[in-house]
Amino acid sequence: MKEDRITMSHGAGGKSSHDLIEGLIRPLLSNPALDSLDDAAVLPLATFLPSCGEGALAFTTDSYTVSPVIFPGGNIGDLAINGTVNDLAMAGARPMALSAGLILEEGVSTALLREVLTTMADAARRVGIAVVTGDTKVVPRGKGDGIYINTAGVGVIERQWPMGQGHIKPGDKVLVSGSIGNHGIAVMLTREGIEMQSPIISDTRPLYSLVHVLLQAVGSGVHALKDPTRGGVATTLNEMAVGSNVAIKVFEEALPVDAAVRGACEILGLDPLTIANEGKLLAVVSSDRVGEALSAMRQHPDGTQACVIGEVQDNPGGMVFLETLLGGTRVLDMLVGDPLPRIC
């Protein structure tokens, strides 16, 4: 962590975020659960109560600071439910309960808050989960941005095999559950200074049910799950490659990108691989179970477009590379900085 000050890049989920976490936050707060840097911490239930025996608690948190609060396809309310449910699901956990911490900016309209909370309640109902504890703070105008929401979630893990970004093996295949970049582009197009209209909507959705069918179908054939949120698929794959010290090769040809998302990326000079998703997952699956995994996911409404986008190799460890449309090969790095539009 070389910088004297925090910049937007440190929150964009890419390399600077990584530097901040690895260079400052994780070392100071270090402990085994945090150090794994998986989507959710896994805590054996027996440490709580010896009588619990096998099984573990998954615990995760995320803050949602999306601007604007309401965006095409959703708002911060369902985002806050789905995002945390998804981090639990990525641990293979059944979501059990959520907390909600609201940070409201003085002056935010009650109507907006009502709309967000209503969406939040609907999203929770859709997953069958309750917000069981909460907190509300109000910050002075100019010290917030309408509504920020933190949610934390607890879930229960019953599976008996190890899973996570440290458990990927050469030969595994990388699957994505559907088209990429929709959330990040939907939000970005609404920003001041860009102002484009498009049919693109956020893909925000809960993924537990999809994970459930996948785990039912393939079980221990699933070696890792991760939702490619901030930093996009590129960053998430890099985290996995580093976590398991393997190489991941991605086939550009195989990447599902909606036409409008591609168009927006061309206009703005962005790469869909570094754009955030809020309703997609990456699954790393043992190569002999890929067929079952794909067919299970494709039968689920949230996985109809599921496909293989890459494969795990043993060398060079910690790297992700891309076989381009034209058969060339290049490194696929983490997002550097914040994804900003380019003119050159």
Partner: protein
């Protein structure tokens, strides 16, 4: 340098301003660098856009010619090829020479 991409005009708002579409993504662009020199821009036209300005219309005939050259590669004799080099100097349709 100079990220510029093709898009299609879908609607004219004024002499200088038009709505552009790129695979469903739409934005107002300034077309004055064409319209003010008498190059008509109408819905359906393809233009190249840079920093919110339409910089030129796209000449589809030229596009087809160059693609055709590419597609003929390996299937023509050297003489054919040499003929192909002799690219006709561009003559954009609908462009007012001024």
């Amino acid at each position: 340098m100079c990220l510029a991409i093709p898009g299609q005009i879908v609607e004219l708002e004024s002499e200088n301003s038009a709505k552009l579409d790129v695979t469903g993504v739409r934005r107002m662009v300034d077309v004055s660098l064409l319209s003010q020199q008498g190059i008509q821009v109408v819905p359906g036209d393809w233009v190249v856009i840079h920093v919110g300005f339409a910089m030129n219309k796209i000449n589809d005939q030229e596009a087809q010619n160059m693609l055709h050259e590419l597609k003929s590669l390996g299937s023509t004799s050297l003489d054919d090829e040499l003929a192909l080099w002799d690219v006709p100097s561009p003559n954009f349709e609908g462009r007012k020479e001024s």
